[in-house]
Symmetry: C2
Subunit: 95 residues, 2 copies
């Protein structure tokens, strides 16, 4: 019974936030859930945001990833990841 989490009671928004958080954890392999490398972030964007890409809001996102530094060594922390997802969201809203 200790494992019981009231996930089923989460609201749609809470589940949505959880989904975005989980992606970070899934892809942050090298940084052990603490940070994403630019390569990992790039992989996440390609695999998980293919449609945001199509509507051309991910353009600036990819530029930002390139500016982050060494693709395998630079560190993107959770807050920066969230900001980047926000940029993608803002791009979509503008559409």
């Amino acid at each position: 019974q200790g494992e019981v989490r009231d996930c089923q009671e989460l609201t749609d928004v809470e589940r949505a936030i959880e989904t975005v958080i989980n992606q970070f954890h899934c892809y942050a392999v090298k940084g052990q859930k603490e940070y994403l490398t630019p390569n990992e972030m790039q992989e996440l964007v390609v695999q998980k945001l293919p449609h945001l890409g199509k509507v051309r809001c991910v353009g600036p996102l990819e530029e930002k990833i390139e500016c982050m530094g060494d693709p395998d060594e630079a560190k993107l922390e959770f807050g920066e990841y969230w900001d980047m997802m926000g940029d993608a969201a803002k791009g979509c809203r503008r559409k």
Copy 2:
């Protein structure tokens, strides 16, 4: 056929981002989807983030809402809303 959107093809992350965007639009009544008033944001947090609240990550969120200014007149734009949701998410991650 003009209405066809490939929603069913959206990835889980894209749907999640869409959900978070939609909340902003739903609650931004006074600002006609352009901004939330502090009262509207407060309503959103209470109704849509009840569990994030329980785990005590929404504390700072409510403080921030109070600091925004006149509850019915101050304007919270989409970027600020997204940042606040990020603060809630960070709080949860820390747990």
